[in-house]
Symmetry: C2
Subunit: 356 residues, 2 copies
Amino acid sequence: MAKSTTPNKAAAVRQRGVTMNDVAKHAGVSRTAVSFVLSNRENASISEETRTRINDAVQALGYRPNAGARALASQRSDWYGLVTEIVTAPFAVDIIKGAQDQAWLDHRFLLIAPSDQADAVGPNQGLEDAAVEKLLEQRVEGLLYAATFHRGVHVPESVHEVPTVLINCFDADGKLPSIVPDERAGGRVAVERLLQAGHSRIGVINLDPRIPAAVGRLEGAREALAGAGLELDPELVVSGYATADGGYEAACQILDRYPKDQRPTALFCLNDRMAMGAYDAIKERGLTIPGDIAVIGFDNQELIAAYLRPKLTTVALPFEKMGALGVQTLAALTAGQPITADQQLVDCPLLERSSV
Amino acid sequence: MAKSTTPNKAAAVRQRGVTMNDVAKHAGVSRTAVSFVLSNRENASISEETRTRINDAVQALGYRPNAGARALASQRSDWYGLVTEIVTAPFAVDIIKGAQDQAWLDHRFLLIAPSDQADAVGPNQGLEDAAVEKLLEQRVEGLLYAATFHRGVHVPESVHEVPTVLINCFDADGKLPSIVPDERAGGRVAVERLLQAGHSRIGVINLDPRIPAAVGRLEGAREALAGAGLELDPELVVSGYATADGGYEAACQILDRYPKDQRPTALFCLNDRMAMGAYDAIKERGLTIPGDIAVIGFDNQELIAAYLRPKLTTVALPFEKMGALGVQTLAALTAGQPITADQQLVDCPLLERSSV
DNA sequence: TTCGGCGGGTAACGCGCGTTACTAAGTAAG
DNA sequence: CTTACTTAGTAACGCGCGTTACCCGCCGAA
């Protein structure tokens, strides 16, 4: 095939890398000694002199340990598997970042495999099972299972063979530990912020009321209002599609329904995309943000929130933190901590920008 | 530590998984036979009967091959390494998706390691080298190196130990093959679209003129105009920060500089964030999109382009395709194809929405 | 002198699997 | 009846490393 003379060393002869044995010979010691030094065992007695001889040999030969062989011999791979639809539908990528960073700190590797939960009945049916299977073949020590949006999920059977933690979703069968955003506290903090800014008549642009996010955030809003001695006016809550268009329409409804002096002075949009649409509705009516109407969002989709004009004050979904926490939890489990099915709630911090 | 009685099988006794030997015993044959069957070797002669006996045993015992051991014995890992800052700054996540999908098809695994090119002088100095080192310890057969935005990069020395392909960036030292978007063709197609819609006076909101994306896209715009017998009026090209604010200001300049009848009727924004700002400037002046001013963007940042109102017509950066192509190219290299330093250009398709 | 302990190592087994001999029985050709 | 060739398999080595059991020489104590 390769007729050109351009060298491709790596492929031409898959050159035997330098092994521990080579190092041992070079240093004039046994391979065992090398092993002891490299994994600096406490109770091994190697003189300082040979120790440096060995280290020198490692340097000289450019020795690089073979992780696979080590895994085989030591019966531990230092790998976690992350199976997620985020690979196919990147919305919550920061989960990967958080998990990756934490894993890196813990000297572990993340094997990322694609899932496709979203249309598990579609053509990709089985992809997920296959992914888990592949990960188990790699002898991962634990599994992380992450979703793009907060919801209940059914996981493949085989995840139970190994410690598993769910991220941004929870086990519909109630057996596995999970890590999810504290939607309720987030909703509370959002509305409290509006109250604090002097608003008392607050419109809510709601998501599909059946999803956990909507339930939690709305509940939080209610709590915040209650804390100020107010109640949530059901008339001020309008649901819409979770898009800019949906937000636009919902905002139009709310804004046009009342005479000027009864109009809400603030909108709590349950996600940033809807806030984006609400912006248009508000501007279209010649109103200013936050002067006439304050807007607060949810999700902190950077691309929207940070680039809207004025920049959108919003509640952030703690993807990165959830990812990190997932790895930490998994580390505890693989270390032998008993597996329970509890949910860890992670705070959704308020991000102050300029729309309130 | 674990005082609770909740079981944690996986950690309690790291139970020896069932091995090929177990399967062999169960089927009453030698391990070799099992190996032959499982890797269904052509030239091995195993009777149909024992073949099914073995397969049955595999099923019965729930045997799962140990990928690590296989890699060790066969001297091939089936792993590619992907080192990228995308993990830390997710903008071009779709590269990962494309690569992942293709790898999956090729029965290979992607080991994703973080880089931090962006601030390679910062606290993460060395992260990248460490990442490559770790990947090599895992005996990856090839490396993918991806950047979040199109530019020249310097790669760690050790990548040369193994076939390597750059994605969305190119080797500043001119040694490695790379895969980059065809910015020029993209710029051309964008402006051609505007010309086709009848616009001849086109304003350009430019990026920092030094980056490859700006150079290419502008060049393409120039070509398109030349194709229509027009020239690019330098006065109509305004550079700004690559943000919504930058786009807003640049658009203001262009729109306010001319009397109504000399005003450009279309804006080519070199990225979607700037287009987002341009939208505001246009709407603020009581103008409509695309009625009074047509707008076309670049990048296809879904979160912006698909949610702006009207939805933004834009040129897509082919992240996913580049990722896939990266894996394919790597596959060819690891198969022995000679390594050359050429760049593969990938088309940037026009995405028609509603702003033209 | 003998015994035990200690510092400084090493031989050798096994991790789970791919692979290359090699064997043993059956069959066909000479 | 040999010889040769196929069919159906197996024994055994090695991949690179962790780990356990053991060994050897030396020194101080009994």
